[in-house]
Amino acid sequence: MKSEKLQGKDLINVGIYSAIYFVVVFAIAMLGYIPIFMVLISALVPILAGIPFMLFLTKVKKFGMIWIMSLLMGLLMLLTGMGYYSLIVGAVTGLLAELIYKSGNYRSTGKAILTAGVFSIWVWGNYLPFFLDIEKYFSTRQEYIDAMTRLMPAWMCPALFAAAFIGGIIGGVIGKSLLKKHFTRAGIA
C-alpha cells in the first residue's frame, strides 16, 4: 500500500499547494508594476510564499513533489508571458531543493528551511532577460542602454539571486514558526 511512487493523492497535494503558493506570488507580483518594487519582489515573494511552502513540505514524503511544484511555477510564468527563463532555472533549483530535503529523509527542519531557500531561486529566473543582451535589444538607442544599466547594473544579477535565496530562508523560518504556533496545534501538519 505504501509505495515509493507518487500517487494520485500526492499529485493532487502538489496541485493544491502550488495554487496557494502561486496566488501569493501573484498578489505580490501585482506590486511589481511600480518599478522600484520590481527589485523588492525577488525577496518579498520568497518570504511570504515561504509560509505555504513550509506547510507543503510537511506533506512531502516521496521523491518528485518539490521538483514538480518548481516546474509548475516555471510553466505558469511561461503562460503568463514572463518567459521560459524561470522554467529553466526552476528545473535545476527544484531538483536541487528536492535532493536537499530528501537527504534529510523528508523530515529535518534545518534541511526544510534550506530547501525553501533553494526552491525560491526560481523567482530570480524572471529577472534574467533583463541581463541578457541589453546592448543588442536597445542597440539603436544608446540612451536606453545607459538608463537600463543605471537601473539594473550587472551586479544586480547576483544580488537578486542572493535576495531570492535569503528571502526563501527567511520565509522558511517564518513558515516554520507559524507552523509550530498554529498548524501543529490545530492538527493540520
Binding site: L11, A19, M82, Y137
Partner: protein, 245 residues
Amino acid sequence: MQNGILQTRIENRSFVLDPRTKLILLITMSTFVLGGMGSESASFLTPCLCVLPLFLLTVSKKYKSAATYAGIYSAAYLTFALFGPHTSGCLHFLLLGAAGIITKLMPSLTMGIYVISTTTVSEFTASMQRLHLSEKLIIPLSVMFRFFPTVADEFASINAAMKMRGISFGGKNAGKMLEYRFIPLMTCSVKIGDELSAAALTRGLGGTVKRTNICRIGFHLQDMIMILLCAVPFGCLFLDACGAF
C-alpha cells in the same frame, strides 16, 4: 484573479488557436522580445512581434485588453521620444528605465494575457497530453487551475470576516495582518484539498490505464500561419549563426 486563469467561456469565441501554437507564440515572444535575442539582419522583426499580441487580442474580441496594451506601450514609447531629450539626471534615468522595462516586458506579458484569457483548462491539459508530458505533471497542473478560483473565494470570505471584526490594513502590525489571512486560508484550503483528493480518487484518478481526453484540439490554417510567422525570426537566428562560422 476574480475570473481565475484559464477560466474562459467557450461560447463566444470566433478565432481559435491550438494551445500548442500559443505555447510556440509565447516561446517566440520570450526569446526575441523579452530575451532580446535576434539577428542583426532581422532587427525589424522585433517590432513586428510586438504588434502580434495586439492583433490576436483584437481578433479574439478582447478589445479592452488590446486598447490597454496599445495605450501603455505607446505611452512608454512616447515618454522616451518626448521627454527623453528634455529631462536629465535621476528623473531622466527613471523615466527611460521605466519606459525601457515596459517596452520590453509588455508585449510578452500581453501575449500571456491573450493565452490565459482565450484557453480553457481542458484544452490546455489536452494539449499537454498530446505533447506527451507525464501525468505526474498534468494532474497537479489541472488541480492547480481548478483550485485558483477556490483560493480566491476563500480569500474573499476571510477578508469579509476580517472586516466584520474590524481588522484591516493600516493597523499597527502588518505581520499580524498576514498571519490572520494566511492561517484560515491554509486551514480551509487543506480541508477542501483533502475532500477533493478523496472525490477524485473514487472516480478512478491515478489508474494505470492511459486517460482519454474528450476535449477536441487540433491545428488549423490559422495555426499554420502563426507557426510560420514564429519560424521566421528563429530561421534568421539560425542563418546568422551559420554565417558566423
